[in-house]
């Protein structure tokens, strides 16, 4: 196991995080024990962040103690790995709109002390205005107005020089347009407010998706 980022490990092309909740699987991932520690294999077909790592992501602005606001936490697959990375000193505020998904997410939060569930609409950040300022806003919402949603949350919660990590689903924005055009448009919408560090297309793990990492200027 090579630690390629703080808390993220790589072995034979696969990525792992050190489990905060040893002995338990979140989504059927395999567990690997190495020198007394347990690692959870990070499946790029299930998690867009793992797919981005597979595609060579160089910038991962998360480590022990990082505070993350996660928009679109869904059933908690990726959030569980984020929870592993930021550790007990860090925290992940998980916003999810669907009560069906929230039911599954709550079971995971019960087992992980740094995962804070919020049933709410990411379009309305004032509904969860009590959340503290964070180091990273992570967004995976697949909505046509997702850039607008992102900006509202950034204005409300992101620290100066904080980071955004965004998954863009071209089909959710406009099915009739070329994905590459959409990525370019998103890039120009973010330009000015953010210093874009990386844009990666996520094929073959996810079709017509790209992943952006950028820093607030």
């Amino acid at each position: 196991m090579n630690e390629i980022f703080e808390g993220v490990f790589k072995e034979r092309g696969d990525f792992y995080t050190k489990s905060l909740d040893p002995g338990h699987k979140v989504y059927g991932e395999s567990l690997v024990k190495k020198s007394g520690r347990e690692f959870r294999k990070w499946n790029p077909d299930r998690s867009k962040l793992a797919a981005a790592l597979k595609k060579g992501l160089d910038t991962l602005p998360m480590k022990k103690g990082t505070k993350v606001l996660y928009l679109g936490a869904a059933q908690g697959t990726t959030p569980s790995h984020v929870s592993d990375i930021v550790g007990e000193q860090g925290i992940a505020y998980l916003v999810e709109f669907s009560e069906r998904a929230m039911r599954d997410l709550l079971d995971i939060c019960e087992r992980r002390v740094n995962m804070v569930p919020i049933l709410g609409d990411a379009r309305k950040p004032t509904d969860y205005g009590w959340v503290e300022d964070v180091d990273v806003v992570y967004q995976d919402v697949a909505q046509p107005d997702q850039v607008e949603i992102l900006k509202r949350n950034v204005d409300e919660f992101l620290k100066d020089r904080g980071w955004i990590m965004v998954s863009i689903k071209a089909r959710a924005m406009d099915v009739t347009r070329e994905p590459k055009d959409i990525y370019r448009e998103v890039e120009s919408q973010l330009d000015g407010d953010f210093d874009i560090k990386e844009i990666l297309e996520l094929d073959p793990f996810e079709d017509d998706h790209c992943f952006i990492v950028a820093q607030k200027v």
Partner: protein
């Protein structure tokens, strides 16, 4: 009060706090590190109870003048109650820092854990109150469709299987056929039996196929029960939609939209195409004709309309459904009769054009 000194008294997750007008913390009494006790305390404060932590903070003040958003009356104190005070915001924004400074927690991870515990309790409550009866409708109509699919499939199997033994048994309707096979022991018991070219089976073979037919008969009965149940629930949940288009298709529309609320917020053009997403996206991506209708195609309203006019009929039905959905979601009144009459008149006109 402005010339005299005063303090803000506010409460939050970590406990009860007093700040001076420069937002310096002058007193605090922290809650126990236990999420349900904290929520209890906060509820009590909201209900106007003078909990121990509140009394403690107030008694330790060296002024009698208090500005607060907590509803309290204390003998001997001059209390000004406001809807919101800036100190509450300050407490919320600096909750982590103040939790550490006041000794509510000793380190970040303790704070994280308590915040998580509190949010789990609150979120569970929110999930419970946000799941509405229309979710039951969605599940029931899906179950009904599952049963229909499965019973058709199993009926085909039964006909093949029993057909080995008694191929001459010709009964229209799978349900009837199943009931007959489930009810009789041997082919000779059928009234119309006049010998058979089917193979002979012994009792064990017949029992096996009969047992299968009995289970299938049970599925048909369950299907009927579920249909009646769906009719009942739809009358409660969406009486207007139900009256216009029937319980099953109405429930299907709610299920496809995701909820009654979502259906009520849809433009009628979208309702018209619910269930035709595949064709719609094929069209938008530049292949194929635009679809004219989704699941409402299967309704007799459309089926009774000549082919060239079905698109127009679908538009009328969808716009009526839109009104019905909004009436169901937002008013709870029953205007279904009026809507239906108007729709039937309009459809008649379209057919006669």
């Amino acid at each position: 009060m402005s010339e005299k000194s005063f303090v803000f008294v506010v409460a939050g997750i970590p406990g009860v706090f007093a700040f001076d007008k420069d937002k310096e913390m002058v007193a605090s009494s922290v809650f126990p590190r236990d999420s349900s006790k904290i929520l209890d305390r906060l509820d009590s404060i909201r209900d106007g109870e003078q909990i121990e932590e509140l009394r403690e903070v107030v008694q330790s003040l060296d002024t009698k003048n208090i500005v607060t958003d907590i509803h309290m009356e204390i003998e001997g104190y001059n209390v000004e109650i406001k809807d919101s005070v800036s100190a509450s915001e300050y407490l919320e924004e600096n909750m982590r820092k103040l939790s550490l400074e006041s000794g509510f927690v000793e380190e970040d991870s303790q704070f994280n854990r308590i915040l998580r515990d509190i949010q789990i309790i609150k979120t569970r409550k929110n999930v419970k109150s946000s799941v509405k009866k229309d979710k039951v409708v969605s599940q029931a109509v899906s179950a009904l469709q599952d049963l229909r699919r499965i019973s058709n499939e199993l009926s085909e199997r039964l006909r093949e299987w029993y057909g080995l033994y008694y191929p001459e048994l010709k009964v229209k309707g799978n349900e009837k056929y199943t009931e007959l096979v489930a009810g009789l022991e041997r082919r000779e018991e059928f009234e119309e039996f006049k010998g058979s070219m089917g193979i002979d089976l012994d009792k064990r073979d017949i029992d096996a196929v009969k047992g299968f037919a009995e289970r299938l008969d049970g599925i048909y009965k369950e299907r009927e029960e579920l249909k009646k149940y769906l009719e009942d629930v739809m009358k409660d949940v969406a009486p207007n939609i139900n009256h216009i288009i029937g319980s099953e298709m109405g429930a299907q529309l709610i299920s496809l939209a995701g909820s009654l609320k979502k259906l009520a917020r849809m433009p009628s053009s979208k309702i018209q195409l619910l269930g035709a997403e595949k064709a719609l996206f094929r069209h938008l991506k530049g292949g194929g004709k635009p679809p004219k209708y989704g699941i409402i195609y299967n309704h007799p309203y459309i089926q009774q309309t000549p082919e060239g006019k079905r698109g127009k009929a679908a538009r009328k039905i969808a716009s009526t459904l839109m009104m019905a959905a909004r009436t169901d979601q937002y008013t709870g009144k029953f205007k279904g009769k009026k809507y239906k009459k108007k729709l039937q008149r309009d459809l008649e006109e379209i057919r006669n054009e």
